[in-house]
């Protein structure tokens, strides 16, 4: 392969029109030193030399770090599940307790009702009686006064 073909390939390379195979040919060509290169190739030589060097570089990936996966590595998930379970349990228990309290209260209310009603009625009747009694005493006073008036008037008659 003479410089002419390589020159054409280099021009194609700068235009972004080379295939992978053609680029491999270029890398291969520039991997060895050549004398009396035309200016176009001299310009491209450092770049392809660099590509060749980088491609040949052996990369030793460092040894794998062994990460021990603890069974407790997801402890927050477990804690959250436990918290939710405890929360639901507590809420259910509270609900049951309240229901029971309401039932007991209702039962008690049913049992106590007649007595309470009787007491209330008695109190109301007592108040009524008291007020009536007040009225009666006033009427009595009035009747005494009437009687007295009648006596006086009768005496006069």
């Amino acid at each position: 392969m003479d410089y002419k073909e390589i020159t054409v390939l280099v021009e194609k390379y700068w235009e972004g029109e080379t295939s992978l195979e053609e680029e491999a040919v270029l890398r291969d060509f520039f991997s060895t030193p050549h004398s009396a290169l035309p200016e176009v190739l001299q310009e491209a030589a450092p770049l392809f030399g660099y590509f060749h060097r980088e491609a040949e570089k052996v990369w030793e990936a460092p040894p794998v770090k062994v990460v021990k996966l603890s069974p407790w590595r997801h402890w927050m998930k477990y804690a959250a599940v436990i918290m939710v379970a405890v929360g639901i349990g507590y809420a259910l228990k509270q609900h049951q307790q309240r229901e029971q309290q309401v039932l007991v209260a209702l039962e008690q209310q049913e049992l106590n009702d007649p007595q309470k009603a009787l007491d209330e009625t008695k109190r109301a009747l007592q108040l009524l009686a008291k007020n009536l009694h007040k009225g009666t005493s006033k009427m009595q006073q009035l009747s005494y006064f009437n009687e007295a008036t009648a006596v006086v008037e009768g005496k006069e008659d």
Partner: protein
């Protein structure tokens, strides 16, 4: 994904992922961490593996995303070499046959490539050093194949201009 599949299909890609991470981050320690994180992420996303057509490209994409996140998070500076790119005097190019001069030339090319925007640099490295096809690069970067071609052309053009400005010729 079974452990066997992970060991036979993902773990062998590890050196490639490490090299890719190293190029992006510029140092061994971070490259190791990112490679490890990428493998852990691949393991965690194992249910996706069945749908994949190109496992290697997918692993590389994860590695790149993690590396870019790291760069963004720490406002990473690749190295001081980037700053020196424009300061290199052009008068040092007189004896290209000497070994030291050759190293110097290589260093300048390295600096010129590293000074490219990340996307250009990655595409250039994946194509011209690793020999990936346009489709593979498109899969790794999750972009359109035409974008790969356009960006590769621009990257080569930019490097050419930089090397011309630095008067880097011959070996």
């Amino acid at each position: 994904m079974s452990l066997d599949r992970f060991l036979t299909q993902v773990v062998p890609v590890r050196p490639k992922l490490y090299r890719f991470a190293f190029r992006l981050l510029g140092n061994e320690e971070d490259a190791q961490d990112i490679t490890q994180d990428a493998l852990m992420k691949v393991w965690d996303m194992q249910e996706k593996m069945a749908e994949l057509q190109n496992m290697e490209a997918w692993c590389m994409r994860i590695t790149r995303n993690l590396a870019l996140d790291k760069i963004k998070a720490r406002k990473y500076r690749m190295s001081d070499e980037l700053d020196r790119a424009g300061e290199l005097p052009a008068t040092q190019q007189k004896s290209p046959h000497a070994v030291t001069e050759q190293n110097d030339v290589m260093e300048k090319v390295h600096v010129a490539i590293n000074a490219l925007p990340e996307k250009y640099r990655t595409i250039l490295q994946l194509r011209d050093i690793d020999g990936h096809s346009y489709q593979e690069i498109a899969d790794i970067l999750d972009i359109d194949m035409n974008d790969v071609k356009v960006n590769l052309h621009r990257a080569r053009k930019t490097v050419r201009e930089k090397l011309q400005n630095l008067q880097v010729y011959g070996l």
